[in-house]
């Protein structure tokens, strides 16, 4: 007994010493790097964390492939001032804790210049508070969320969002439903976190002013539990809903449509932009969403005459992995990468975190991109797009504005401002899809 305790200590100390050694041989980061973290003379490293697996990953897991495809296209054409861009992708399975961990990994271990296109409201909120991005001066650019809270520049000095805020989206849905179905019973499915709470603000009296007969909140990821989507539909049917707004992630939208088909619940669907493109995930849903209303700030992916769509589609075919669909997420991913390249170019010959952020503040609103509404980056604003056009899903499950692909985009703000038709004309695409 005595012997064992002694041995235990010997072994424990040996292990400690071994750990100490193994850790100490790892090179510590150079104390004063001449160039910025994540930038060498030949390369620029960016990172992203988003759900690649799990219930919430459907659709969004196609973003990195499209982003990388565009970066590879740029790299094949000389890169950004001779530097090749790489993107480190981390899977957070839509779990805030994992997103925190991944972001710490990206910053501490992979040493990226900036985080770009990170996805999810709860995740990015947790990351912002836990990793102290603002205080440490680390940019988290073009976050794929519409949570209006991020648009507080004081609280999030190094962050910017790219999606229109959920308040804007809800305001627009409110206006649309009030004008199109003034007398119908309308119901709402939303996610039970800040993503949904933001939407509720947009629907309230002072904003979109839309009343719901039945509101169902689902906790994040609960949509994967057997019977859960059925219970939503049962409640909506019991409430006699005629117009159904679905304000959720893609998997929740998908499960709602499938469960509704089972229960033969066929309201007029209004699918929020975040999770609408479900036909490209599961073709079985296409018959059920034909004619459903949704919105987008990008052109339709099947628009035959849009120069950005044509070029991005071509890049997707050549540079994305074999069989990668060109759907709304691929378009958004590629567009984000396209904007990022312009930001890096604008950040000077030797981009730093500071110059990158300054470049977006100074020029961000003028960056060429496929969006049909303006980007709103400036010294005082980190808001991305600020509006949508409405459309319906066609026979192939793609969102189109109408048969002739003429768009009527609206813009608004996250406050109580009106929803107005925009006169914005987007910049023409640079030659070969390469910003100069």
């Amino acid at each position: 007994m005595i012997r064992t305790t002694r041995r235990k200590f010997l072994v424990a100390s040996a292990v400690m010493a071994a750990t100490a050694l193994s850790l100490s041989v790892m090179p510590a980061q150079a104390l004063s790097p001449r160039s910025e973290v994540g930038v060498t003379s030949t390369a620029i490293k960016l990172g992203i964390t988003l759900p690649m697996t799990g219930s919430a990953s459907y659709g969004y897991n196609q973003l990195p492939g499209a982003m990388k495809a565009y970066f590879d296209y740029v790299n094949a054409n000389g890169g950004v001032n001779g530097r090749k861009i790489s993107l480190v992708v981390k899977n957070d399975a839509y779990l805030p804790k994992q997103a925190i961990q991944n972001t710490q990994d990206l910053i501490g271990k992979d040493k990226v210049l900036a985080v770009i296109g990170a996805l999810g409201t709860a995740n990015n909120k947790a990351v912002a508070s836990a990793v102290n991005l603002g205080r440490r001066g680390i940019p988290s650019l073009f976050i794929n969320t519409g949570f209006s809270g991020f648009n507080d520049r004081k609280a999030y000095p190094t962050s910017s969002t790219i999606l229109p805020s959920y308040i804007m989206e809800a305001k627009m849905i409110g206006k649309y439903v009030n004008e199109t179905y003034p007398t119908k019973k309308t119901c709402l499915l939303y996610q039970d976190d800040d993503f949904g709470d933001d939407a509720l603000v947009g629907f309230d009296k002072t904003h979109g002013n839309l009343d719901f007969a039945v509101k169902v909140a689902y906790p994040s990821l609960s949509q994967g539990v057997a019977g859960v989507p059925d219970s939503w539909i049962t409640k909506f049917k019991a409430g006699g809903c005629e117009v159904q707004v679905v304000f959720g992630v893609a998997s929740a939208t998908l499960y709602t449509i499938l469960a509704a088909a089972k229960a033969q619940y066929a309201p007029k669907w209004i699918l929020g932009s975040v999770g609408a493109d479900i036909g490209s995930i599961n073709p079985a849903t296409v018959p059920y969403i034909i004619g459903a209303t949704s919105m987008s700030f990008m052109p339709s992916v099947v628009d035959p005459k849009d120069e950005y769509v044509a070029k991005f589609k071509e890049i997707n075919t050549t540079y994305n992995s074999a069989g990668a669909k060109f759907n709304s997420w691929a378009l958004i991913g590629m567009n984000t990468a396209f904007v990022a390249v312009q930001a890096l170019k604008a950040a000077g010959k030797n981009p730093t975190r500071k110059s990158l952020l300054a470049a977006i503040d100074a020029n961000g609103s003028k960056f060429a991109n496929a969006g049909l509404v303006p980007l709103n980056y400036s010294k005082t604003s980190n808001v991305g797009f600020n509006g949508y056009w409405f459309g319906t899903f066609n026979k192939t499950g793609d969102l189109v504005p109408n048969d002739t692909f003429t768009y009527t985009p609206y813009t608004t703000d996250s406050g109580t401002g009106p929803v107005v038709k925009t006169t914005y004309t987007r910049p023409a695409m640079p030659a070969k899809g390469l910003p100069n």
Binding site: I2, R3, T4, T5, R6, R7, K8, F9, V11, A12, S13, V15, M16, A17, T19, A20, L23, S24, M26, A28, Q29, M52, T53, V89, N91, L95, P96, K97, Q98, I100, Q101, Q104, G108, K109, T121, A122, N123, K125, A126, S129, A130, V131, N132, D192, D193, D194, P219, S220
Partner: protein, 326 residues
């Protein structure tokens, strides 16, 4: 052959040596390694708590993640609502979780084997999810827990993660000191007696129920400390920080450490932190496939687990010792 008694003084020297190693380490490594060091400290405390419960008292827990959650939320809520200093938050976390463990242990003491495994498993799945139901817990994105920045007198280069590494290691050393003392006390002996033969222990006058509940309480208190430390390294407490996978990782770490010996606790803790890193660097070198990078850590941990169960079911330390004494 060694008749020299190992006294508390020797043990104290051992602990002081470990503290010295940690101190030296913290000055060599960069910010990232400090963060990993702090994580190792969290695992040390969590695994020690499982070893105490399962290895010494013989009660299975597949739900230690839930106990960590109780500790983490108590610490964060104490800070937010009572504005208490960090060390008080830690103490409250330990006490709250111990109380929770006492209640749970009272129910658990009647259960054994698969019933206890099932109950703790259901707890691990169920408890963190109620954070979504009550707004005080901050929902999916959770609430923040800020252990603060290091004192300015430590200089500008003293990073926050180095500070966490220090706090975590200090807490782990105190916890381990306390645990090894309690295991060698009257209580520790009674737990082992109950584990090896309940009937004999009962005949010897040990109150089995009380002994089990006490073990559960103490183990929970330590788990609560681990939870508060985890919250510190994350700066944040959210339901997703305590998935079933965390409970399984801790159980895995206990097996890798050798569930019957406290001394191996470093092995499992370092393994849990190092393996994902080693695996991802292998995956990077081998091929650029992200798919491989995400699945390799799970594969390696799982394979190592099975190997340990087969080759060294009592843990690597016992294995070494039995080979030596042959």
């Amino acid at each position: 052959m060694h008749n020299r008694q190992i006294t508390n003084r020797h043990r104290f020297i051992g602990f002081a040596l470990i503290a010295l190693v940690v101190y030296i380490l913290s000055n060599i490594v960069d910010e990232w390694r400090s963060y990993q060091g702090a994580t190792v400290a969290v695992y040390v405390v969590a695994i020690a708590s499982v070893i105490l419960l399962t290895g010494y008292s013989g009660q299975i827990s597949l739900g230690h993640g839930a106990l960590l959650a109780v500790g983490a939320y108590s610490a964060a809520l104490t800070q937010i609502y009572l504005h208490a200093p960090v060390w008080i938050c830690f103490v409250i976390a330990v006490l709250t979780t111990a109380l929770f463990g006492a209640i749970l242990g009272t129910a658990a003491a009647r259960l054994s084997g698969p019933y206890l495994a099932g109950t703790t498993l259901a707890l691990a799945v169920g408890l963190p999810s109620i954070a979504n139901q009550f707004s005080i817990f901050g929902g999916e994105q959770g609430i923040s827990f800020d252990a603060g920045w290091p004192p300015l007198s430590f200089g500008e280069n003293f990073t926050q993660y180095k500070w966490f590494f220090w706090i975590g290691s200090l807490a782990a050393l105190i916890a381990m000191w306390w645990v090894q003392n309690i295991l060698r006390s009257r209580y520790g002996r009674s737990w082992r007696a109950v584990k090896s033969n309940e009937v004999a222990a009962e005949l010897a006058g040990i109150n089995i129920g009380r002994s089990k509940v006490l073990a559960f309480t103490i183990s929970s208190g330590i788990a609560g400390l681990a939870g508060a430390l985890l919250a510190m390294t994350m700066n944040n407490v959210s339901p997703s920080a305590f998935p079933l996978a965390l409970s399984f990782s801790i159980a895995t770490g206990a097996i890798l450490s050798g569930v019957n010996t406290l001394g191996g606790v470093m092995i499992g803790s370092v393994a849990l932190v190092a393996i994902p890193e080693i695996a991802s660097s292998i995956a990077d070198r081998w091929s650029g496939s992200e798919n491989l990078a995400t699945l390799l850590p799970e594969f390696i941990v799982s394979a190592l687990l099975i190997l340990t169960v087969f080759l060294a079911p009592k843990g690597p330390i016992e294995k070494l010792r039995s080979r030596h004494s042959k």
